[in-house]
């Protein structure tokens, strides 16, 4: 009885803590398309899976690509997705519904910066269903991170108290329960059912920030996880295609050497690990598709394309893809 009593208090305490934490997660963490994308790749099979940053998300329309290739495709790319996230995303997808081909978007900037601990840091991890990939993901990324990041993701949204009402409304709606995309429609963009992030007309921030790149700036972790992706694809018999999506000509001109050396780095890797690299920021493909570097096609200097242009680019991309 004494031992029971001794254990009872800590157990109740932890239970209360757990309950409060879960409820706050429910109240504060909004429904984002990460949940939608993770759910899709966990429950459906696609021939082509697109992973990468927001550039891939906004530049590559799976339905446009499918119209050329005749293969099913899904765009699971999202902002702040670093190579480590892509790797476990891919593992999670493969464990449930293996794709034939991975179209991986290489954004040089993600290779030379350490990931900020923000709401997206644990986003993909949080939405994943329990399983081997999630456990490995946990030890690769959450194990050494601040305990609040994975246990209490609501703390990224703690100041957004005014959003609680909307979150509750969304989370009680059928759209949420059925993993719909209805709530993602905003003034700047919408998310289509194939995962394509369709950017609406209107300029975002347009000041060019220098994009530095030199080989000694490469984060070991990013490179290491990219190589893991390449090796994983080979092991699993998944075809790997790496793409760097177009950026406005002005951005390219301002950062010529950065894009050139980043492209060279990936070019070298493509030879070592035997995959296709399609670079729209340099070389033949840039020459052939220069029409997609017109700054009028982009919402910002960084390379987020308007939906209409992105659809056209996706068709061109698919045609190039068929040729290799």
């Amino acid at each position: 009885m004494r031992i029971f009593k001794r254990i009872l208090v800590p157990v109740i305490f932890i239970a209360v803590l757990f309950a409060v934490n879960t409820y706050l997660n429910y109240l504060l963490v909004p429904y984002t398309f990460t949940r939608y994308k993770v759910h899709k790749i966990e429950t459906e099979t696609f021939d082509d899976l697109i992973l990468g940053s927001s550039h891939a998300g906004t530049c590559l329309s799976p339905s446009s690509i499918s119209s050329v290739t005749g293969r099913s495709a899904f765009n699971a790319a999202q902002g702040e997705e670093y190579p480590v996230d892509s790797y476990f995303f891919l593992k999670d997808a493969t464990g449930k519904h293996k794709p034939d081909r991975l179209i991986y978007e290489f954004d040089p900037n993600y290779w030379i910066t350490a990931q900020d601990v923000s709401a997206n840091y644990a986003g993909t991890y949080t939405e994943m269903q329990p399983g081997k990939a999630k456990v490995q993901y946990f030890f690769a990324k959450m194990w050494k991170a601040d305990f609040r990041t994975s246990i209490a993701p609501w703390y990224f949204y703690r100041a957004q108290l005014s959003d609680i009402e909307r979150n509750l409304f969304v989370k009680r709606s059928d759209d949420y329960k059925n993993f719909g995309t209805g709530t993602f429609d905003s003034a700047t963009q919408t998310v289509e059912s194939d995962g394509f992030i369709a950017v609406k007309p209107g300029k975002w921030d347009d000041e060019i920030i220098p994009r530095d790149w030199s080989d000694d700036m490469i984060q070991e972790k990013a490179r290491d996880y990219f190589i893991r992706i390449a090796e994983f694809c080979r092991r699993e018999g998944i075809e790997l295609v790496v793409v760097t999506t177009p950026v406005p000509a002005e951005t390219l001109a301002a950062n010529e050497t950065s894009y050139a050396s980043a492209g060279a780095e990936m070019e070298a890797l493509s030879k070592t690990y035997d995959f296709t690299y399609m670079n729209y920021t340099g070389g033949d493909l840039l020459e052939a598709r220069r029409e997609f570097t017109d700054s009028e096609l982009f919402a910002d200097w960084d390379g987020h394309m308007y939906a209409d242009a992105a659809r056209r680019f996706s068709v061109a991309f698919a045609e190039d893809l068929e040729k290799v």
Binding site: S118, K144, A145, F147, Y155, A159
Partner: protein, 495 residues
């Protein structure tokens, strides 16, 4: 292994739980194994340094006890030589290059985890054996645990063998109350670190990094730096002592309400205490009692008379000690001046001690006057804050410019940080959170200053109250704590 990581929490929980499940005879072995796992996790390349210090000092202790005269100086030289080589080679090379226009390449040296702290512990032990204050440890593995004990290796407190050995190697019983006490201490440490230090650092870094473009915020910056430094260091020590407490190990206290100090001397008796006492026992007294200092003292007495002649050597010894403290804080001139500043104030006030007593009599100040006490506390607080300009600034030049601008261009405000990048989307929120944290710590400090053991007080309360306090502290980490910083970690883990 970061203290805030899940990894460290699981590691600690397994270490504590396991410690009470294995046969008591092997408890210290368990601690040794975990200490080395912790150390290896920081980087296998660091292992060499701690093994070297452990082996050299262990053997040195045995030899010294056996009467080998060369053992103590030789091992001291080896231990300090290693520390100095790693910490100061590049500083010296840089100065040589600067002075003579040479271009000697600097070495790529990484500071091994905790090297200062285990070097201090090792050398202190050796001198204790030499002075026959303790017996040399015969078991090399037990000695290894003394140097590597995992919670304390990162930032102290600097332990003394004679006090630590007893509880480190003891056979311990599981005691729920002790675990609970330890837990409060740990969570309290996290509160200080995450709510105060991590919020305050936003403003401190902004002010010190942009002192050229946004001058005048110095006073705000230095006050917040004080809060940050105290919360960071003492919070880290709270976590260390709390974990050790759970493991049944009693560590020395490192802080006793330093902001209530009545003089700079008193401040150093309350701030980083284990460094202060180490310096006193192993540097200050040996220097003061050395033969050449004795000769200097005699010369002073013939030259300046009895009182000043007696005080001058002590002043000099103080200045030497604080010079070393300054250099230890980092090989840079502003740190050396930081040390000298403290040393000179302590030296001069020692020199004038008799005059102070006379003045107090003259002005009729009572010994226990409350007003005079307040005056002393505020005066010390100001003196300490001035010293922190030198401590925090990147150079002496910067410190001086900032001191000047603090007065001539005095400004205060939160627009120095980017509101949209803070956790609340407001430039005020982190400041308010940090100030709230300071208020809680102030109340706690007043209680402690009145000799009230706050944790014992809490332990007597009903379980609901205790749970509520713990709950609120934990929630405050998430609700008003700053988000993880890219330059995270504890300040004193870099020494």
């Amino acid at each position: 292994m970061s203290f805030v990581s899940i990894e460290f929490m699981v590691f600690t929980a397994v270490c504590v739980a396991g410690c009470y499940m294995i046969p008591k005879k092997y408890q210290w072995v368990w601690l040794l194994v975990f200490s080395y796992i912790y150390y290896l996790a920081a980087g296998p390349s660091y292992l060499f340094f701690i093994l070297f210090a452990t082996t050299a000092t262990y053997l040195g202790g045995l030899w010294a006890e056996a009467g080998a005269r060369w053992a103590v100086p030789a091992v001291l030289l080896a231990d300090f030589g290693m520390l100095a080589f790693i910490k100061y080679t590049n500083f010296i090379l840089g100065n040589i290059n600067g002075l003579f226009g040479t271009n000697i390449r600097e070495l790529k040296l990484l500071l091994p985890l905790g090297i200062s702290f285990y070097t201090f512990q090792a050398t202190g032990y050796l001198l204790d054996v030499h002075w026959k204050r303790c017996k040399a440890e015969r078991n090399p593995f037990r000695f290894a645990l003394f140097l590597a004990f995992f919670p304390q290796i990162m930032q102290g407190p600097i332990g003394r063998y004679s006090r630590l050995a007893e509880s480190l190697y003891a056979e311990r019983e599981f005691d729920m109350a002790r675990i609970e006490r330890g837990l409060y201490r740990i969570v309290w440490g996290f509160f200080k670190k995450i709510v105060i230090a991590d919020n305050a650092v936003l403003y401190v870094d902004a002010i010190f990094d942009n002192y050229n473009t946004m001058p005048g915020y110095g006073i705000m910056g230095i006050l917040l730096y004080g809060a940050q430094l105290y919360a960071d260091f003492s919070g880290g020590i709270d976590i260390v002592i709390g974990i050790a407490e759970m493991l049944g190990v009693t560590l020395d206290e490192n802080f006793t309400q330093p902001f209530f100090a009545t003089s700079i001397t008193d401040f150093w008796h309350r701030w980083h205490i284990t460094l202060g006492t180490w310096m006193k026992d192993y540097l200050f007294y040996p220097v003061s009692l050395s033969r050449w200092m004795g000769k200097f003292g005699k010369w002073c007495r013939t030259k300046f008379g009895k009182n000043i002649g007696r005080a001058l050597p002590i002043c000099l010894a103080n200045i030497i000690v604080f010079l070393v403290v300054g250099i230890w804080h980092g090989p840079a001139w502003h740190n050396i001046f930081y040390g000298l500043y403290n040393g000179v104030i302590i030296g001069v006030s020692g020199l004038l001690a008799k005059n102070y007593r006379d003045w107090k009599k003259k002005f009729g100040i009572e010994k226990d006057s409350r007003l005079f006490y307040c005056f002393q506390v505020i005066r010390t607080f100001i003196l300490v804050n001035i010293s922190w300009y030198l401590d925090r600034a990147g150079s002496t030049h910067q410190a001086l410019i900032m001191m000047r601008d603090s007065i001539t261009k005095f400004r205060i405000g939160v627009d120095i940080i980017d509101a949209s990048s803070t956790w609340a989307g407001s430039a005020y929120a982190p400041l308010i959170a940090a100030l709230f944290g300071c208020l809680v710590v102030l109340i706690h400090s007043i209680l402690r200053e009145r000799k009230i053991d706050t944790r014992s007080l809490l332990m007597k309360k009903p379980v609901v109250i205790r749970c509520l306090v713990l709950f609120l502290l934990l929630m405050s980490l998430v609700v008003i704590g700053n988000k993880p910083l890219s330059q995270g970690g504890f300040i004193y883990a870099n020494f």
